[in-house]
Structures are given as C-alpha cells and as structure tokens.
C-alpha cells in the first residue's frame, strides 16, 4: 500500500552526546506501535555492544514508523538515526542529506553544547527544517526557560516554540510527533521521473552481503530492477528492497520520498560507495545527487600485536571491521621494537578508541598502540610534496623545504567562570583565539584554531577535568599551517626506539624528551650494564637518563630443601624474559612500551 508522498516525513534526531537521542527514538518506536514493550530493548537502535556500553551511536540506522495524527490522517515517519560524536560528523551529514527535517534535541539541564551547535549548523547548511526540543524536563536540574532561550538565540525563533519532553517518561511525545508532521515539509519528487536514489549508508551482513541504506529522491525503484550506481558504474540486480519497522520487511518498490534498504548481492563493501546515486541504466543525462566528501582519517596510530604470531589475525580482524566501517584505512608498518603491525588511520580519537576496543574484545587480540600522530605535509627541497603519517617517515630536516601540520577549528562551549581556564589550556596547546560568543550571560562559545596534534593526545580529558565536566568540544578540519616542528627520537643504549619517536613542536620537544626518558628510566628494569636513555633531535641529545647496572641478582640461601624449587623459579623467570622485547642488547618488558606510550595529564 503506497503512501502518498504528502504523508511522508523524513527526519533525523541530532543532539550532543548523552542528551537522550536514543531514548527518544525508543519512545517514538513504542508510541507509534512499531515495537511492543516486550520487543523493546533499551536503545533499540544502538545495536553494537560498545554503542550500548558507551551510550553512543556509531552506525546510523533507519526505521519506518506508522503514525496517526490527531486529525486521524496516517503518516509514514522515517527516522534516520545519526551518530552522536564529533568523529562521525561525516556520517551525520550524509544522514541529514536523506532528510527534510531534523529534531534538535537539547538536555534541559545542560543546555546547548558544542555538538548541538555543530549538528545544528550541519542541518541548517543542508536546508533542513529544525524542530527544537528540550529533553529531560523531569530532571530536578532542568531549567527549560533558560535553555529554550538559548536555543531560540541560536536558531532565531521564539523560545515558546521549543517543545519540552521527557524521553524517559514519554511526556510531551504526542506534541513532538504532531509538530514533526506539521513543521517538517513532505518530500518532493515524482514517481514517474527518472530514478535518483541516494546511498546514505551501507553495512555488511554475513548472510546478505552489502546492505545499502537508500533514500529515493525521484522515480521508483522496484525489486528485480537493474540498479546503476552512477559513481562506480556498477550495475547490479535489485535482489531485495525493504524497510525497517525496525524489523526488516521486504517491499516491492520504493517510491519518491521513501527510505529503505537495498540488497544487490554485492559482497565487497568497497564496491559500494556511500554518497553514490542509484538510477536505472536506461536513463540518460541524469545529474547525480550531491555526494559527500570521502571521510578522511585525521589521526594515525601504529597497532602492533603483543604477540608477534598474531599479526595475521590482526590483519584479518581489521579486514572484517572494514566491512562495516569503510573509513578504516591502514598500511603495514614495521617497528624494530614492536615488530610487525599496521599504521591505522582513524576519523578521530573516539574512533581510534572504539576500533582498538573492538579489536581487543571481539577479536581477542592483545595490542600495543603507539602514540597517535597526525598527517604532516612535507615539501621537499626539490618542490615535491608528501604526506607523513608516522614520525619514522619524516625526511631529514636538511632535505625539507617546509613542514606543515593540520589545524582544526575547535569550538568549546563552557560556563563563563571557566573562560580563563579554557583559554589558558588552549594557549598552552598553541591555539589561536578566533571568536568568542556569549550564548547566554553565563555560557559562551570559544572558537580556536589549534593544531590537531595538540588535541589528539589527551586534550578532551584535560578540558573536561579542568572545567569539572562542564565544557564541551567539537572540532572540524581547518587548514594546514607551517610550524616549527622537529622529530624527537628516543635512544636506548644508543639504539633509536622507533615506537617512541614523535614529531613535536620545537618548544615542546624538550618536555617530551625529558618526560619520555624519565618514564623509561622507571620502566626499564636494571640490567647487567648501565643503560643510557636519551632523547635526541637529529644528533643533538636533549635529555638523558641512566638505568644503573644491576649489582645484585643472587639468592641468599640455596640448600638441600630449595633445589627443585629454585631451579623451577629461575626457569620461570627465564621464560618471563623471553616475552621481553630486545632493543639492541637491552631487554624491555612489553609493559614498558605500553606504559610509556600511555599519556598522562601533564604531558
């Protein structure tokens, strides 16, 4: 039974992390009868374990809801879920491209946060109608009046138009659904126009192969049709079309304005490009829909199996993860200290953490990760340019004409009492103040240009702890700027340890070198000879520590009663030593690499 296009609404819910997006989606599913309470699992749309545990959404999903308005007319609401974290903003923007409207959800206690703003701007840029909503009005700390005023100040509307709901209790939900239907425009497009459908997401299903999420803009796609993917040129028969209610339900066709899934039998996720336009092969002269920029990895880290024998397992695990995460890229990397591994590119820090956690948890791998790095741009003396993602690959200073690093535009929203703290922190991170904007009298938005390398380490945690959790952060790639950068090497007994090399700003190289050598002095056990631990820039030593030779390694008593025990103890100790990594003649415990690479607060 086809729904008239005037009765379709496509929308997303956009919000700062933890503002209750998933809970609101759950309530909508319940209220519209899409799922019975028995079927209701908490945060149904977040299906991955890690998403549930961390309360964040990583993969966007779409669900079709049947809604009867107070006037008795029936509607189809397509709720297109969006990820809630800054690292995944590219996924947000492609979900928004499939919508006509967005519910902007704000915590009535916390108010507008950095990602609220970032997402609101994305929605405005995409030309979406925004329905502002305050959530958690049942909280004692909620201040709906002030928060509504904040929202109105950003969106330019009337504070009274901000809907107040509690996704927890369901209060205000009916009003919200009515407003979605009333405020968000119906899609446009005609069923008999040439087909144009947008692929806004894809994932890999072990049984069905690649499953695309599509939004039909014009025309109609039917089961059995041949679909032409315009960007890749691939022609694939439509094996199945369907909608998620949230349970998969095949349909014969998807008409204009409708969203659903498309299965073609393609097994390799790389053969489907998210952002591609699907049409019929016989249509000529079709203008493809605006696609998206390819997600670009911003943060890089070397991942090495603790046990060298797990290298192949790590490769297989990365390949499997990539089936559902096309943004994941890697290349093999060899470290003298850590053995064989991969340099992996991530969209951001959270993405990196999630991937590492999934590799360790779902694939039972024990990994050592090197300090995250960014992609530097090097211009050589001969004018050629290259990108450097690993300190090991940085060409000698003598061969370089110019070294540039990526900057981001960082947006911090913070109560005004912490303004000084935040400015101090960003200044220490080489940030340049770009703008300062009071949202209300007591909260303001600070915009900075700051080197990405300065925030990939521990910036977010530091920001949170110094502002007692009140600051929120969002960032977007900005430009590349020339910086006075140097490569700091760490040497053990004269041997450079590649895993500890870092590209640092000249002013911070000394601090890095000193902190790394000090940490290693604590972590490297005394051995039979003095071990020099040095930090160097080129041939210049900038810091030095010494692990003094061990003077005593002997058991006081060894008599008749101890012989077997002592032999076994020494054999076990020797076994334990085998797990150490040798750097030249120095034995370094695996833990020392991990501990040294762990970042502390004051670095």
């Amino acid at each position: 039974m086809a729904t008239p296009i005037s009765r379709i609404r496509n929308f997303s819910i956009i919000a700062h992390i933890d503002h209750g997006k998933s809970t609101l989606a759950d309530r909508m599913l319940e209220r519209t009868g899409a799922v019975t309470e028995r079927e209701m699992r908490e945060q149904l749309l977040d299906s991955m374990d890690i998403e549930r545990e961390r309360g964040i959404t990583i993969k966007a999903q779409t669900v079709r809801l049947a809604y009867t308005a107070p006037d008795g007319s029936d509607y189809v609401l397509n709720l297109i879920d969006t990820p809630g974290h800054v690292d995944f903003s590219y996924e947000v923007s492609r979900s928004l491209a499939a919508c006509e409207g967005a519910v902007l959800l704000v915590d009535a206690a916390q108010g507008v946060q950095a990602q609220t703003l970032a997402n609101a701007y994305l929605a405005i840029e995409a030309g979406l109608e925004i329905v502002p909503v305050l959530n958690k009005i049942d909280l004692p700390a909620a201040d709906p009046e002030a928060r509504a005023y904040e929202i109105a100040a950003i969106l330019g509307g009337d504070p009274d138009d901000v809907i107040r709901v509690s996704a927890k209790t369901g209060a205000g939900l009916d009003e919200l659904l009515a407003r979605i239907v009333a405020d968000i425009p119906a899609p446009t497009g005609r069923a008999d126009d040439p087909l144009r459908a947008l692929v806004f997401d894809s994932h890999f299903d072990a049984y069905r192969g690649v499953v695309c999420s599509i939004r039909v803009m014009d025309g109609t796609l039917a089961s059995g049709d041949t679909a032409l993917f315009m960007a890749t040129g691939g022609r694939h028969e439509v094996a199945e079309l369907g909608v998620l209610t949230p349970f998969a339900k095949p349909v014969a066709a998807l008409g204009p304005g409708e969203s659903g899934y498309l299965i073609t039998g393609v097994k390799e996720i790389d053969r489907i490009r998210v952002g591609d336009t699907v049409t019929h092969p016989h249509h000529k002269g079709i203008t493809p829909l605006a696609g998206y920029a390819e997600p670009k990895p911003m943060v890089f880290s070397g991942l090495f199996p603790s046990d060298g024998d797990d290298f192949e397992r790590l490769r297989e695990a990365l390949e499997k993860l990539r089936l559902n995460d096309a943004s994941l890229v890697w290349q093999p990397e060899t470290s003298r200290a850590l053995g064989f591994g991969f340099r992996v590119g991530f969209l951001g820090l959270l993405h990196m953490e999630i991937v590492r956690e999934r590799l360790e948890r779902e694939y039972d791998l024990d990994l050592v990760a090197t300090a995250p790095s960014v992609a530097y741009r090097v211009t050589m003396l001969d004018g050629s340019a290259r990108e450097v993602k690993s300190p090991q690959d940085l060409p000698d200073a003598a061969d370089r004409l110019k070294l540039e690093e990526p900057y981001v535009r960082a947006m911090v929203i913070v109560p005004s009492e912490f303004t000084g703290t935040v400015m101090e922190l960003l200044q220490a991170r080489r940030g340049l103040l770009d703008g300062m904007n009071y949202l209300t009298e007591e909260r303001l938005e600070l915009t900075y240009h700051v080197p990405l390398a300065e925030i990939v380490f521990d910036f977010f945690d530091t920001l949170k702890s110094r502002t007692r959790g009140f600051a929120s952060l969002d960032y977007e790639p900005d430009d590349y700027r020339e910086s006075d950068l140097v490569k700091v090497d760490i040497l053990l007994a004269g041997e450079p340890v590649d895993a500890f090399s870092a590209i640092a700003h000249k002013d911070k190289a000394y601090v890095y070198g000193r902190s790394m050598t000090e940490k290693l002095r604590e972590l490297i056990p005394r051995q039979l000879f003095d071990i020099a631990i040095q930090a160097s820039i080129g041939s210049r030593i900038i810091a030095r520590e010494t692990v003094k030779a061990r003077r005593k390694d002997v058991t006081a008593k060894c008599y008749g009663g101890d012989i077997s025990r002592k032999k076994k103890l020494l054999q076990r100790q020797k076994e334990g030593k085998k797990r150490m990594k040798m750097v030249g003649s120095v034995e370094v415990p695996q833990d020392a690499f991990v501990a040294a690479l762990r970042v502390d607060e004051d670095q």
Binding site: R526, L528, R551, K552, T555, A556, C558, G560, G561, Q573
Partner: protein, 375 residues
C-alpha cells in the same frame, strides 16, 4: 649416572618459640609440647627407611632444634646410627638460637654427639635484632660462642644483613665483633623478602624495603672483612676458616645424594628428589599410621642432574667442572656475553662466577639451556 648411597643426612625439627617475620621455612610455633611425639615419629621414619651407608655428615635444621630437649636430639641421632651407621669422624651440625644456649645446654648437646653448633645470631646490633623480631641480646651470642668453642669441633654464626634498620657502621661492627669472638665459620645472609611473610606484608603496607644497592655494598663489606680475618669465602653466603667448611652442605652443593627426615624435609636419593608433608599434624598422623610422609617425588633426568650440578656448583667460589652443560653454556650467546663481561670465567675446565652477586643472572641462563645429547 652414578648412583651412590647417601653419606649425608638432613633432619628437620620445626619447633620455634615464635615465627620470625622474614621466615618462610617449615616451622610451627607454640607447639613444643608435641616435641617428644614428633621426635618419636622421626625415629620411626628413620627406622622404616632402607639402610644407606655410614653417615659422614648430619645436619639438624629447623625451626629451632635447640628449642627441644637434647635428650630428644640424642634419640634421633641414635636411630640414625642404628639404621645407617656413623663414620668415626662424622660431622653433626645443629641449628640453635642463642637464648637456648645456657650453661648446660651446649654441654648436653655435645654429649649427644653434636660436633658443630650453628648459632642464629643474625646481628649484634640491638636495633637490628629488634627489627628482625629476635628476642636475644648481643651478649647471649658472645656467651654462646664462647661456650661452644670449648666443647664443639666447629662453631658457626649465622648473620642477616641488609635490613633497612641496619647502617653500614652497624654491619661493620657486627662483623668485627663476630670475628673477635672467633667462631670457625660465618654465614652471611642477605635479607630476602619472601612472599607470604609478615615482612612482605609490612612492606606492602608501606614499611621500607631492603635496598638492592645497599645490600650489594654490605655483601662486599662482609667478604672483605671476613676474608681479611682468615675466613675463606667458599659459597655465596658462607665463609669458613680452612677445614671448617660445612661438610653436609658441601655434599649438597656437589649434587651428591642426601637423606632427609622430618616434616617438610627434602632429600635426594637414587636419582629421585623427594619431599615430606609440610604440616605437623599430617606428618604425625601419617608416620604414626605406619605410612610414608612423602608428599612428592621427582626422578631427575640426566640433563636435570647436569643442570643442577652446574646450578649448585656455580654458587661455590671454587667454581665447578664445566662438563657437558658448562660447555653448552659457554657456546651460547648468553655464555659468551657473560664471559666477555667478566662475570664468568673458564679456566682449566673450571667454570666460575667471578661476581658472586650476579650468580642468579648466570644460573638463569644455565637452567634454561636446551638439552645436549651425547658426552
């Protein structure tokens, strides 16, 4: 592998008035009322064993053997003589605490046949004695050494060094006073924090731990002082005037077989290492029921024997015949490294650790050597 009947024997007497905070031996405190019953059980265990050959060295260790009546010690020695026989010049060592060695005690012990008295002095500094949880006075030690020198063939003083409460001066003075007292043998033990002891719990709770470098300094001081006084450094922790090396221990370190009786005792006979149950009640009930108190045994392979020979021999300052295992070690990367660093020497077929403080670093490599076949 040559299997010779043991000529050395260990007897364990587990009773102590209290457990010292650093001790992880098989000891029982506050059960001296069971001493008579225990010694009877040991006698029974001895009688049930097959005869070896006349004993040349007996070591009665503990625990605190001096805390039980010399009469009981005499009965155990009698049982040993009856079962295995005693060589005419047998060395019979007994461990003792200074506070047990009153005027009659030393004479009574000598009367049972004990020829070598080992006195658990630990220190002559009251501060250190207190930190070690010992109850005797420094003067008790000197009196006991005096009494023993008159009646015993050999006298040993046990010392513990490297407790955080000890200073360099205090250690030096302890050594000087012990040398002046003139025992024939001095054992110097670096304080070791064993798992599960009161000491290790105290350190986990924040008490200072022994410092490795300080212990190394004190070790070197002991070797220097004792060597100058005529005590040859013959094993990592042992120093003796010529001819007064502990005969029982020399057999153990030469990887010869030895008998063992009593709870928690370990022995080595016919190529098998064995150990007895460690709990007093289990030991008593087993022996009294006519059962063997053995809890475990392990037959040593030829390669095990070779590795243990090296492990024990490398602790001796004379070194050890290199043999098959020693040659394999010298050919290994680790062996070459140790020789190059001067930690191990190899001369005239003798392998020797030149820096006794690093003995375990060497042994750790030796005991991990892969089996070599053929002579």
């Amino acid at each position: 592998m040559s299997v010779q009947a043991p000529r050395a024997c260990y007897v364990h007497v587990p009773f102590c008035a209290r457990v010292c905070p650093y001790c992880d031996f098989a000891v029982v405190a506050g059960r001296n009322r069971d001493a008579e019953r225990y010694c009877a059980a040991v006698e029974r265990e001895i009688r049930a064993d097959s005869p070896a050959r006349p004993l040349e060295a007996v070591f009665i260790g503990g625990g605190t053997p001096s805390s039980v009546s010399p009469r009981l010690i005499g009965r155990i020695l009698g049982a040993l003589a009856e079962r295995h026989g005693m060589a005419s010049d047998v060395e019979i060592s007994l461990e003792s605490n200074p506070e047990d060695l009153g005027a009659h005690a030393v004479r009574d012990l000598a009367g049972t046949g004990v020829t070598r008295l080992s006195i658990g002095a630990q220190s002559l500094d009251p501060v250190v004695l207190d930190a070690l949880g010992r109850v005797h006075e420094p003067d008790d030690v000197l009196r006991a050494v005096d009494a023993a020198l008159d009646l015993m063939h050999s006298v040993n003083v046990d010392l513990i060094f490297g407790h955080p409460a000890e200073s360099a001066a205090s250690w030096q003075e302890t050594l000087a006073r012990v040398v002046a007292a003139g025992p024939h043998h001095v054992s110097t033990y670096m304080l070791t924090v064993e798992r599960g002891t009161a000491l290790s719990r105290a350190i986990a709770g924040g008490a200072p731990a022994p410092d490795e470098d300080v212990q190394a300094d004190r070790f070197e001081m002991a070797v220097r002082v004792l060597d100058a006084a005529g005590y040859g450094h013959y094993e990592v922790s042992n120093h003796a005037q010529p001819g007064h090396e502990c005969r029982y221990n020399l057999d153990v370190w030469a990887n010869r077989s030895y008998l063992a009786y009593g709870l928690g005792a370990h022995g080595y006979r016919d190529g098998v290492r064995f150990r007895n149950v460690r709990a007093l009640d289990a030991y008593l009930s087993r022996v009294e029921a006519g059962d063997s108190p053995r809890q475990g045994e392990e037959r040593m392979s030829e390669w095990d024997v070779e590795l243990e020979r090296l492990m024990l021999g490398l602790r001796l300052r004379t070194g050890v015949a290199a043999g098959q295992g020693g040659r394999a070690f010298l050919a290994s990367d680790a062996g070459r490294r140790f020789v190059a660093m001067g930690i191990v020497s190899h001369e005239a077929g003798v392998l020797r650790v030149e820096r006794p403080l690093l003995t375990d670093a060497v042994i750790r490599e030796v005991v991990a050597l892969p089996r070599v076949s053929g002579p």
